[in-house]
Every structure is written in C-alpha cells, then in structure tokens.
Amino acid sequence: MQEKIRNFSIIAHIDHGKSTLADRLMQFTGALTEREMRDQYLDKMDLEREKGITIKLQPVRLNYKARDGRDYILNLIDTPGHVDFSYEVSRSLAACEGALLVVDASQGIEAQTLANVYMAMDLNLEIIGVINKIDLPGAEVQKIKEVMENVIGLPEEEIIPISAKLGQGIEEVLEAIVQRVPPPPLAEKGEPMQALIFDSYFDSYRGAISYIRVVAGEIKKGEMIKMMANGKSYEVAEIGVLSPHMTPVESLQAGEVGYLAAGIKNVADIKVGDTITKTINPALKPLPGYKEVKPVVFCGIYPLDNNDFERLREALEKLSLNDASFVFEPENSVALGFGFRCGFLGLLHLEIIRERLEREYGMNLLTTAPSVVFKVVLTNGTEMMVQNPNLWPATAKIDHVLEPYVKASIMVPEDFIGAVMQLCQEKRGDFITMEYLSTDRVIIKYRLPLVEILYDFFDALKSRTRGYASLDYEIIGYFRSELMKVDILLNGEIIDALSFIVHSEKSYHRARGIVAKLRKIIPRQMYEVVIQAAVGSRIIARESIKAMRKDVIAKCYGGDITRKKKLLEKQKEGKKKMKQIGNVEVPRDAFISVLELDNE
C-alpha cells in the first residue's frame, strides 16, 4: 500500500500559479469532470475568488495511473502564497514528503519562493522545481533555471518547464512526483495509531471536521479515538478522502491524508497540530505538532451592536478552529463597549478574518487601528508587553521602551536599488547586506521596525519599483526605541479606541494626518465636533467639523412621497454603519481607516 502513496504540497510566491497547476493535475487525473471544472477550483471561499488569491490550504486526493502502468494515490495540498498565510504552508509541508516549487517564468524567484522552499528543505522534503507560465511572452526559462540552480541548488536539468494555463508539461510533473517523491515511511505491524491534525473547520451539522495525515497505524470508522492534548475521546462518525469532493472511506492507513468527523461540538477540544490516537493501544507520545505561531499585529474587534458580544465570541471560537494562527481575548473600551483584542499574522490576515466574521457569521463589526506589541520597561524594573495602546503606562513610570524589529528581504532588479534603500531609510531601517541573485537582480536586507512595514510599506515598495519588488520578513526581536502614545479626543473626550503609539519623530506628522483624516470621514453632526490629538495633556493637532446646517427635503407632495421616503431609508441605513461615541456619530470604518494616511 504505502509504496503507492505520494504526499506533496504545491508551494510558491503569490500568484505564480499554484492553484492553476492544481486544476490541471485534477483535470489530468480525472478527479473533476469537465463540467465541474472552473479556474482555481480549490479556491472555494468567496473571498478567495473575489481577491484571486488562496487563503486556506486545501488537500485533494488524486488517482494516477503512471507510465510504469501502476496506480498511485497522490495527496496534493494547495497552499497560499501570501506572506501572512505562511503558517498554512508550514502545516501543509508537515503532512508531506515532497513539495512542488512553482516559479513564474516571467517573474523569477521572489521573496516567498525562497521563504517557502527553505521551510520545505528544513523538513527534508523532496523538492521538484517547476517553471510555470512558459507561454508568457516575457518567459525567461533558461535564465530562471540557472538562478534556481545557483540560489536554491536544484539541478537545472531536473526543473520542469510547464504552462498550467495551457496544460503543458502536466504529465511530466505527475511522473516526477511518482518517481522522485518518496512514499511515506513504512508502517510497522501493530504500532499504535497516530494522526496529525493539520487543519479543521466547523460544520454546523457535523461539528468539527479535521483534515488529518495518518502517520502510523490505521484508523477506521466507528473506532474510539482520543485527542492527545486533553485526553477527550470520541467515536469516529465518518472518515474519508477529498477527491476533491468529500468521499467517505472505511479506513485510512499510515501515509494517507483525509478528513475525519467525530461529532465534536466543542471547538476547544480539537486543536490544529494535535495528535489523534485510539483509546485502545494508544500512542505514548504525541507527534511533534507545530510551532505555535505568534501573532504580530493586534487590533480590537467590536460588535457594532453591543448586544452581539456573545455571538461574536462564538463566531471567533468557530473561526479559530479553521485558522489556528489568530488569537483573541475579551477586552473593553470606554468608547466601544465590550469586544475582543485579536492578534494576526499581518494586515491581510486581519482583513480576511474580519471579512469572514461578517460573511460567514453575519456579524456587523467595528475594527480599531492595528498595532504591534511593544515592550515597556518600567522604572521599577518590571517589563510589560503592551498590545493595546490604552494599556500604555504613564510617562513617569516608563524607563524605556522596545519595539519589535524584522529582518526584511527585498528582491528587486538592480535598477531599483536606490529607490528601495531610500524607502527603507525613511522607515527607520538599518542596512544589513545586499547580494546579487543573478547578474541583474539583488536581494537587499534591512533591519526595520515591524510597525513601519505593516501599514503602507508594501504599497510604497511596489509603487517605487514599478511592481518589481517582493518582500519577505521575519521577526528578529525587540530593540530600544523612542516611542510615545498619542490620544485622539472628540469634543474634549479621549476616544480610547483611537489612541496609538508612534515614534517620537513622527508623532506630529502622524497626529496631524489622523486628525485631518477624521475630519474628512466623520460627517457633519447636529453639534460642532472638535477633533484633537494630544500627547499627555499637550494638544498637538486640532481640527473641527462644523455643525450640520441643512438636511431637508424641500418639496414633498403626493407624486414623490415614495421616492422621498427611499432617501430617508437610505439615511437610516447609513446610521447603522455609525457608532455613537458620546454625542458624536463615528463611521465604523473610521477606526481602521486612520491607517490609510500616507497613501493619499
């Protein structure tokens, strides 16, 4: 059995064509009928389709009759390419023996190409290099082969040129998988069953559904299983494979990938990275599991209607089952009431979670401005980690402050070296190194404050390099910095949800920008609204919004009452997107849109 199984992930930089290649692999092996086929079939979520990117890993089982005449089972996992979702990649890789590394023939190696392939190498996976999009006029197959050999160490002659779009080279890829990816390790007779949970989600009918990789032994429908993290046991209600539709099977054996449902309603009982074993002849030790990922960006998420707090908690719990990389804990704000402080891997991650909460759970939410976690050392010697600007201690109590830094790797054609360096300098960066990847492409490394790259760095980078630059970063630790808290006041009252932490040199600029932005997005009210920014008790910026003077339908007679009422209804709808804070109505997007400053 084992020798016929091949488990592999498809990895690449964003948009290099992973999901499209998965389409062709499914098509070639007959997993999908022509009628079922649609582009990027595995991007099932509406959000994925709208944005044209993969957000979640997605396993599929393919049956492939190879040229050697034998039937193979190929378990493929399609992964996202965006840096915010690299946790999905690392979990996928841990369930595989091989990886298809896809490189765009016109873009070449980019930042996440390297980041992802290094992850696969660390796990000792067999790597099959694939150059995709060879149909593009700008394809530079030979040149990219050389770079892949030089930079990643993949022998040039083993790299497969393909066009996922046109379906060229697909069979070569399948053959390479069969021949080069090793089968899963041989199972020993009678060894205790162990299965790794690499993903899960909540289904309102069947409870939690887990995607598992059986590592040892065999699991059957109806057996009693045990979660090794908390010892709770359940009966297996259904196991199956995704081919790509859910197809129940009687058993899954060591080396196989599939799904499992056991009527688990309590989402806390099932944890991604946990090991499942059986109650009879249980394994003694869990599998290594995953390194916990640490969220780097935090923001408050509040229900617009305060009565929805419990519903929001439930939605967060269920969603966290499907995304183990975000965290949340209750908090409250004077301005916004009860909500949650949530941590994410990046801003796209934040945006996606917020969108999913709204769409999949019908929530109406307000998000506060994201912030990183600062380390504050107090005069009495104790250290404090501050996730929420409101918990910033009084200046007199602070000895010094540290902020998280990253090592950023930026890949760009050499013409743009100057532009990239200037940008990094503006963002308080320190140059580390620069290396040539090929004759005309370099990788520039900078040490930068995480805060600086979170907001608009990537957009600025793209626009200053005409779209050619790609960016990867890793957190390298905390370093001392001159930081201060700025409060925003509306009609003299501090709005805690709008406070932010900023580098002292940038405080004026940022405060003025935010105040001006708020003036633009808060509509005129019945009263004048004064917007101020303050450091301690010192006001550093001020704007005001004059009271509304006109809101009238001058003419209203029989013929157009219906139409005029529609205008009023629209107005009423608009109010639902507002949060009443004191006597000021603030659009719910105000809290997050204060970020979009420098883009204007």
Partner: protein
C-alpha cells in the same frame, strides 16, 4: 399646456357628476409664459379657481441659469392678468439657493413677489437633481453652489421677511395669508387619501400607493379598452408604515400632528410608540411636545430629515 377647451372637457363631467363642495379648490399649474388674460378668463369659466405660477425668480440671470424660458416681465404680466380676471387665489413658486445668488438677490425676489400680493407662496431650496444640465454644470465647476450655511440663512431670513409681511408659515416650504392654505397639498401632509387621474398620476387609497402607467398612449388605450387605469403599485403599507408615513408627512406642517387624531385614526398614541425617539429629538431641540401636539421646532425645519428618518419602521 392643455388648451382651455381641453380643460373644460376634463372638468365638465367632474363638475356634473360629483357634487363638489362650494369651497372646492381647483388649481391650475402654469408657467408665466403660457397664460394671458383671455386664456385665464376661459379657464375660469371652465371651473379653475386657483392658479399656481412657476415664477422661480425675478432675475433674468437666475431664470436662465435655471433653464426657464420666461422673463421677469412675463411673471408681472401674468399676475396682472390674474388680478384683471378677478382671480384672487393664486400661488407663486420661488427658488432660492441658486448658484452665485446673494442674500440681496434673494431678498429682492421676495420683495417683488410680496408686491404682487399672492395669497400663497412656495419657497423651495434649489435641488440640482442628478443628470440635469444644472447638476452637470455644477459638477464641472461652471457655477459655484451656495454652501449649507448660506442656504440655511436664506431660508430662515426669507421666512422672517415673509412673516413680517403678513404671511403665515404653515409647512416647511410654504407660507400663505390667513385662510389660504392649499387644500390640495394639505391632503398629502394630512396623509389622507387621494385619487390621481391621468398618465403617471399617483393615488393613495387605503394602504396602497399606486402610479398610473407612464406612457400617455398606453394609459389612454387601457382606459378606453377597459374603463380602468393601468396602475403600478408603489407601496403596500402595513399599520406601522401607515403611522410612520402620517407622522413624517404631518410633521412637515408647522402645526405638527395631533396625538388625539392619531389615537382616533390609527389607534396608537405616538408618544407611546415612539417614546425613545421623541425623547432624543426633544433633547436635540428638533421637536417640541405638549399634551396634545407634537411639532418640529424652528431649528428643526431645515434639519427635518434628521427627525423623519427616525420614525421609519
């Protein structure tokens, strides 16, 4: 505009078949260009007893900007003809907030209007409806729209001037001499039933608002074929919607709405059903209440949408 013969043909059967009250109000809307003494007399004979003139302004620049064909003299002449024909009951429509209009421009329009002694005046804030040539020129920056603050000033100071000259302010945009409230318009503001005849006319009967077929040919064809008007349903209102409608329309009148009347007509006390909303609005100084009536405050007139939307179901 209809020929006087057509008006006669239209009114004759109504006057004959329906026993009209002696106080019946039969208004003809007209542009100043379209009326002269002879025509007015003929229309009067046909049964018209009130005229409403789209004067808008007494300044050539403003009339041109509004895309009106008539000149200031036409308005004077038409009103003179009304007087000669012995029509005492008539209305003038005026518009303020025209681009580049100054307070003195507006005041001079008001003065000229008052000099013509109309028993009724409608003063409307200019509404540049999207898609109209005016809206397009405003978008292009060809004219400078007045700012909110100026519009508000023109409104309140204009009303003040009219009140000083003996006019009673009885609806957001309407004033009149005592006893000359428009009976027709009051039907809308009192949320009473009405029947609209003719292509695209709106009716409100029971709890349903309908609009007749827009095309004149199709409308006529259907009336001739079946004797019925081909109508599109605009709204079917439940009880809550009816009450909301009556409040929103009723509060347009400076006299406001009567609590007793609501209890009698709809079986609800507005104070009970909208207690929280009313409390907020009083606090914002947008409405006032006593034991009998609920009214919009003077401050509330020009902010009345802030009041109305809160009553929507």
């Amino acid at each position: 505009m209809l020929h006087e013969r057509q008006v006669e043909a239209l009114l004759e059967p109504i006057i004959k078949e329906c026993s009209l009250s002696p106080q019946v109000e039969i208004t003809m809307e007209a542009n100043p260009l379209n009326l002269d003494l002879q025509k007015i007399e003929a229309l009067k004979l046909a049964g018209i007893n009130r005229f409403s003139l789209g004067v808008q302004s007494f300044q050539l620049r403003e009339l041109e900007l509004l895309g009106r064909m008539h000149k200031p003299e036409d308005a004077f002449a038409t009103v003179e003809a009304l007087h000669q024909a012995g029509i005492r009951n008539f209305n003038l429509d005026l518009i303020y907030g025209i681009p580049n209009q100054s307070w003195l421009d507006w005041l001079s329009n008001l003065k000229k209007a008052v000099d013509l002694a109309p028993p009724h005046l409608s003063v409307y804030l200019l509404q540049a409806e999207p898609g109209t040539p005016l809206a397009q020129s405003l978008d292009r920056g060809q004219y400078l729209a007045l700012c909110e603050d100026e519009e508000e000033r023109f409104y309140y100071q204009g009303l003040e001037f009219l009140q000083e000259n003996g006019y009673e302010h009885y609806e957001i945009s309407n004033v009149c001499r005592q006893g000359y409230q428009s009976r027709h318009n009051l039907i809308y503001w009192d949320a009473e039933e009405y029947l609209g005849l003719g292509a695209s006319a709106v009716s409100f009967i029971g709890n349903i608002r309908t609009r007749n077929q827009n095309s004149l040919e199709a409308y006529l064809a259907e009336v001739l074929r079946s004797g019925h008007m081909d109508r599109e349903i605009l709204e079917v209102m439940d009880h809550r919607a009816l009450v909301a409608d009556a409040i929103i329309m009723g509060l347009r009148k400076t006299g406001g709405i009567s609590r007793e009347l609501f209890v009698k007509r709809y079986g609800v006390d507005v104070m009970d059903q909208y207690g929280a909303v009313i409390k907020d609005l009083i606090q914002m100084n947008l409405i006032t209440t006593d034991n009998h009536r609920i009214k919009i405050t003077a401050k509330g007139y020009f902010l009345s949408n802030q009041v109305f939307y809160r009553f929507l179901p």
